[in-house]
């Protein structure tokens, strides 16, 4: 039950990750434009895999956060750690999970 609550809270308040409203707007822009270079502007995939909510249904936000921060060695997915804080990566993971 406790675990369920935690998950609910995380989903309901993606901004819980410590990110300002300004920065959130910049991150949203970054997802669309820069992630979109490989994953498609509508995130339906390209050289990279689809990142739609449907495609990420079984992915947990912490796992996604790590992929965003450290990339996937041996693939074209780069580590974004030099450009993002852990909170910002978590914000993106939650944003992707919650996006229509």
């Amino acid at each position: 039950m406790l675990e369920e609550c935690a998950v609910l809270v995380l989903f309901a308040f993606p901004a819980m990750a410590d990110v300002s409203a300004d920065r959130a707007r910049a991150l949203e822009h970054m997802v669309t434009q820069d992630c979109g270079s490989c994953h498609g502007l509508t995130l339906k995939g390209g050289l990279g895999r689809p990142l739609t909510r449907e495609a990420l249904a079984n992915a947990d936000p912490e796992g996604l956060t790590l992929i965003i921060l450290d990339g996937i060695p041996g693939t074209a997915m780069p580590p974004w750690r030099p450009l993002l804080t852990e909170d910002e990566a978590l914000w993106i993971a939650n944003y992707l999970k919650g996006k229509d």
């Binding site: 434009q33 502007l41 509508t42 390209g46 050289l47 041996g74 074209a76 974004w80 450009l83």
Partner: protein, 384 residues
């Protein structure tokens, strides 16, 4: 009476001519700018440095590109969502459109202008269409995502496959397509380019170091891999945007190539295919484009260092100018004789026009999140 009729006819004709003439438009100095987020194109006039209008309804245009029919009237736009759209520059309308795959990455038109080929990610392969009607002519499936599709003289196309490294040469001049695997480029080709003489098909590799060259004048010749030990000594930096090879610069007997995972331009001697120099630059190069009729190449960079454009002299390999045209520079297109370069700044919603001699800004055209800029002069260039 007869004279009257003749006069009436003459009047009619001249009125008709007068009505037609001012509307006549030449397309030789026109171009299209892709508005990647809104699925639209801006029609531009290079001589007037102006936008003429907008064409909408082209679907997902992230990473879109286009090519022109030989008459410079029609453009074929390759969308990310598998959409292939034929656009009429004269009427500024969509002449034909087909959603031919789920996910695509560019295309090419045959040397005679009769066929349009599209490179598809999902399902992987190449589809070939009649340029007049967009009816499907051939469907060549692949074991993965096809990249680096180019036109080759003789109604042929060449392409490679990201997943397998295979390189294919397809001949569509006969009743049936003849597709031949001409070799394997290596691990994860990310793009390819044809030299301006249509002699060498250069395939850039992402999964390993190096570039593989295929001799299209003699496709039976074994491919040559070069730059194979480049960068093995150092730690590579992350690549936040794949470099593009379509505009690899060929200048002064050299190839100017983007290093992958390094903030450098690599110079390779065309004859010996050996590296002759490396130029440290501002970031990960994305496009390196030769300024026509000059010794200079212009380069833009991957995010987050994408507000800068640098100019490099291909004789000295030195950076001779560093410009900051705008936020998120995605593409550069030169006037065919090199006098101007048009630069798209996505996050400024603008295309900036620079004089290439003074390197000063001389104009600006508004566009929503612009990416690729394509002048109609491309209609007559092999490999574009």
């Amino acid at each position: 009476m007869r004279a009257l009729a003749a006069l009436a006819f003459a009047l009619l004709t001249s009125t008709a001519l007068a009505a037609d003439l001012p509307q006549a438009v030449a397309t030789g100095d026109l171009g299209l700018v892709i508005e990647r987020a809104s699925g639209s194109l801006v029609l531009i006039d290079r001589s007037d440095r102006a936008a003429l209008g907008r064409i909408e309804g082209l679907g997902d245009l992230s990473h879109a590109s286009l090519t022109y029919a030989p008459d410079e009237r029609f453009a074929f736009v390759f969308g990310r969502d598998g959409g292939l759209t034929k656009v009429d520059l004269l009427t500024r309308t969509i002449a034909a459109r087909t959603v031919q795959a789920g996910n695509s990455i560019g295309g090419a038109i045959s040397d005679d202008g009769k066929l349009v080929a599209v490179s598809n990610y999902e399902p992987g392969g190449v589809k070939v269409f009649d340029a007049e009607t967009l009816a499907l002519v051939a469907d060549i499936p692949a074991k993965g995502k096809t990249v680096g599709l180019v036109d080759v003289p003789g109604r042929r196309f060449a392409w490679t496959v990201w997943d397998t490294g295979e390189v294919f040469l397809g001949d569509f001049s006969g009743a049936e397509p003849a597709v031949e695997m001409i070799g394997n480029a290596g691990k994860n080709p990310f793009d390819a380019v044809l030299t301006d003489d249509a002699h060498t098909f250069l395939v850039g590799l992402f999964g390993e170091k190096g570039v593989t060259a295929f001799d299209l004048w003699n496709p039976a010749a074994p491919p040559q891999k070069f730059l194979t030990d480049y960068g093995k000594t150092g730690e590579d930096m992350p690549v936040y945007k794949m470099p593009h090879l379509q505009s690899w610069a060929f200048t002064e007997g050299q190839y100017a190539l983007p290093a992958v995972g390094r903030h450098e331009i690599l110079w390779v001697d065309r004859e010996s295919q050996t590296q002759t120099a490396a130029t440290p630059v501002h970031g990960q190069p994305v496009f390196i484009i030769a300024q026509p009729a000059s010794p200079y190449v212009w380069v833009n960079f991957a995010t987050p260092l994408n507000d800068v454009v640098q100019v490099v002299d291909s004789r000295s390999h030195e950076v001779v100018a560093t410009l900051t045209p705008g936020k998120a520079v995605l593409h550069m297109e030169f006037a065919p004789r090199g006098a101007e370069v048009w630069i798209s700044a996505r996050d400024d919603n603008a295309v900036l026009i620079y004089d290439t001699r003074t390197r000063e800004k001389v104009g600006e055209v508004q566009a929503e999140a612009p990416s690729g800029i394509f002048f109609t002069a491309r209609a007559h260039q092999t490999g574009l």
